[in-house]
Amino acid sequence: MSGLTKFKKMIICFLICSNCLLLSGCWDRVELNDLALVTGLGIDKKGKNTMLTVQLVVPKQLGGGMAMGGSNTKGGGATIIRTGTGAVMADAIRDLQEKIPRRLFWGHVKAVVFSEKVAKEGIRPYIDFLSRNPQMRLRSNMFICKGSAKNVLELSPPIEQSSAEVMRELSELQFLFRVTVKDALQMLAGSTQTAAIPLVQILPAQKGMSDLQTIAFIQRTAIFKKDRMIGSVNDKMSRGLLWIRNEVEQANITVSLKGAKGTITAAIIKMHTKLIPEYKNGKWKMIVKITSEDDVISNATNLSLYNKKHIHLAQKALADETANRIYAALHKVQKMKADVVGFGEAFHRKYPRQWNQVKDRWEDIFPNVEVTIKAKVNFRRPGMNTIPQGIPPEEVKK
């Protein structure tokens, strides 16, 4: 008897469950075919309104239609651009969605591009939206662009899938700044409320190619204070800033040595920067200690680097050059009164009390911080050559 009731119970349970499943079927399920995959997001200003540009990847079957279908499909496909305008970002998205038959999907946004104009007016409302939406990636890379963001996203690069992908790959190389949405949030919420975000520019198209067949590349670094862009520094200086921020992944430094023709170029294998803040009698001092390990990648001088003396010479020259670059970059940002190098944080950590007193005036103190740079370079390996190649051995200074 009990077996029968148990069986009945199971059937009832099963029916209820299957009903529930069928009912729930349409709440959150979205077929892949109903999604518009956004890879790039551009934010422009159009008058008072926000103009949103999305770069969508259209998964197209490139082959000859149905008959050849399956075997000829190719991943990727063309990208298209759609824009929407609205008073705020959410409005713009709604406007955008009206023009796209598929649901916008933000889970694959690789790059978020702000036009310079937007950046100068403040990016806070936008990045709040970006971090609030659960679909959006905190890891999307952020860029500022000269001109309109739409133009940047419109490009169809000859290499890589989309211009957004190009920008992401470029920033992943970390020659220059690499800033994700999370980084930007952190920087803007940090104690100095400044941020540095890479600035991209459109590369002129190759001859014989259409104007759109090119890419945008990272050229400068935009400096933000509060959430507004106040200026930018060029690539060399950006690298100087990276040195202080301990974010250099790869860099080459070329120096010419005294008493020798030609130059030596070294590539950085490993580097470490240490900020040592000092506060004495109301004076703010900062010692930047940089140690790096380099490989020689080109030696156009006639000096053999198997000689200790020459090595010392070259290392010294490289260290000086590094320091000079950093000084130059530092001057620039100090002039801008924007502490994008993290001095404020360093002082905050070491001298919390004193820092809290000047927290609100840091802008004014930062330009006057006395900076000493102690750079040290060590060669590790000479590359594949022992002595300089291409000249007769007797001319090499051993």
Binding site: G25, R29, N33, M66
Partner: protein, 531 residues
């Protein structure tokens, strides 16, 4: 019809008598009344009774002759179940030879001096005679004597010992059980020669009278466990059993579970190994399969070869198996969940590839997955049932039509085909076929859950399965042991396959204290050699 009714009466009558169960089954034949039918001194009468029992049975032979040329006797047997040759050459000549010295016929002398048959038993009950005849013995009835002799001259056609088809292997013994219980028992006995190997027989099935034997090793298997299984076997009241599957379904702990709670095997070495671990085995006449219990889920994922292969390799293979078990349960549902709920988790390029292949597919991913999984099941089923010659056709049609053509026509997407095939292959890595089927069937609700709640649904499904498995027991042994409840010692045979010289203790089945399998100094090393 009349027969049937009588048998019912017999059964109920017997209940009141409270005699043993064996009688209860016999009684339907001994019909007339509830009293056991005793042989009479009159041969004619006995034969008449037997003939009425075996009415309309052409294969029952009644051979009358005279013992020692003096006394009338009848030999009753079923043609095909006994060795006629032996009857002809041994039994009949020795019985018919005229006695020279003694004039009076003496039944005991006949037994001790004349009858050259080793298996002889004496009975006074008609029911036992019938049972003997039915089970392939020749029954000798002699006039003026109220006892019958059943002569063990049974011999029937049987398959020779073959490689077990369902449990093939590369290493290890190649003999498998056959349909003869005696042979099977002998196979086990040949592996475990200790007299502690006990075999208890019981007959099940009112019509089939199938002999079922419980094997265990005394001192290793817990007596309460054996008592429990015997009780469960005695509880079976069924007209017939044709395979151990019948027994399994009638004595398992949870009949509603999709998971097998007993191990089906046709390998004597698996049975022997299980016996040595303190488990029992149920062998049945007429099937090459044996049941082993109590088991846990993990023993269903172990193959005999794990122990014949090097321990390191077995460990790796075991983990591959675990991985593919998970794949066979989760892959299609994960695919559906990722495709319809968590598109952000898929790397962009991969997502684009999938999107491109799905662009023209008319079905939602959920339907596509269900459809293809059903098709796969159909292919598998067709492959199993079909004769070998047609099997090739099925596989070709399956591969070409359902694989390639469907993708080319844009009816299913290529990634889905891959997912389904991978799942299919994964489910075959489970060494026990029954477990593989259970997992494959559970895949369908999982896909439905994934299609309605995404990964959350998959997780909820998994939780449901886990709850069910945590509640399951196989003859008192928790199904998930030794993982849950944790038995640290036994993990050496679950997470890894420890070297044999490390497997010093038996699995901790409930109530067993004799856990030591061997000394702890079994590790081979040069020092050990000297000792």
């Amino acid at each position: 019809m009349r027969f049937f009714k009588k048998s019912r009466n017999g059964v109920t009558g017997n209940h009141q008598n409270g005699t043993t169960r064996n009688n209860e089954q016999e009684l339907y034949i001994a019909q007339q009344n509830a009293q056991p039918y005793v042989l009479s001194f009159n041969l004619e009468e006995n034969i008449e009774t037997l003939q009425s029992v075996y009415e309309n049975c052409v294969d029952v032979v009644f051979r009358s002759f005279q013992v020692a040329g003096t006394t009338n006797a009848v030999l009753v047997y079923i043609d095909g179940l006994v060795n006629v040759e032996e009857l002809d050459l041994v039994v009949l000549p020795s019985l018919m030879r005229p006695l020279s010295s003694i004039t009076d016929f003496d039944i005991h002398q006949l037994l001790s001096q004349t009858l050259t048959v080793s298996k002889v038993s004496k009975t006074q009950l008609m029911s036992e005679c019938i049972e003997s005849i039915s089970s392939g013995k020749a029954v000798l009835l002699i006039n003026r004597y109220n006892h019958a002799f059943s002569l063990g001259v049974g011999k029937w056609e049987k398959r020779s010992i073959d490689e077990p088809v369902g449990e093939a292997g590369i290493k290890g013994p190649r003999e498998g059980f056959i349909e003869s219980l005696g042979t099977n028992l002998a196979l086990v006995r040949r592996k475990v020669k200790s007299p502690n190997l006990k075999t208890k027989a019981i007959k099940i099935g009112t019509y089939t009278q199938t002999e079922v034997v419980v094997c265990y090793i005394e001192g290793l298997a817990h007596p309460a466990l054996i008592q429990e299984v015997e009780e469960r076997l005695h509880r079976i009241k069924i007209d017939g059993i044709l395979d151990v599957g019948y027994i399994e379904e009638l004595i398992e702990d949870n009949p509603y579970s999709p998971f097998p709670q007993m191990l089906n095997t046709e390998r004597p070495d698996v049975v022997a190994a299980s016996l040595l671990e303190g488990r029992f085995a149920i062998l049945q006449d007429g099937t090459p399969f044996a049941l082993v219990a109590p088991i846990s889920f993990y023993s269903l994922l172990q193959s005999h070869e794990d122990y014949y292969e090097r321990s390191l390799i077995s460990t790796v293979i075991r983990w591959v198996r675990y991985l593919f078990l998970l794949i066979s349960l989760f892959l299609p549902s994960l695919y559906v969940a990722l495709l319809t709920f968590h598109q952000e988790m898929v790397p962009t390029t991969l997502l684009l590839t999938m999107a491109a292949s799905r662009e023209l597919i008319p079905f939602p991913a959920l339907v596509e997955a269900l459809m293809m999984e059903v098709v796969f099941e159909a292919l598998r089923e067709a492959g199993v049932r079909l004769p070998k010659q047609a099997g090739a056709a099925v596989s070709i049609v399956g591969a070409l039509v359902i694989g390639q053509a469907a993708v080319q026509a844009g009816i299913v997407s290529a990634p889905m085909i891959m997912v389904v095939s991978l799942t299919g292959i994964a489910s075959f890595t489970v060494p026990r076929y029954a477990t593989g089927i259970a997992i494959r069937m559970l895949r369908f609700p999982m896909i439905l859950l994934a299609g309605s709640l995404g990964l959350l649904g998959v997780m909820l499904g998994l939780l449901l399965i886990l709850i069910h498995m945590a509640t399951l027991r196989s003859f008192g042994v928790p199904y998930l042991s030794p993982m849950a409840p944790m038995q640290g010692q036994d993990m050496k045979d679950v997470l890894v396959r420890a070297p044999l010289w490390k497997l010093n203790t038996r699995p901790q089945l409930p109530g067993i204290d004799n856990l030591t399998r061997q000394g702890s100094d079994q590790k081979p090393s040069p020092e050990n050699k000297d000792q």
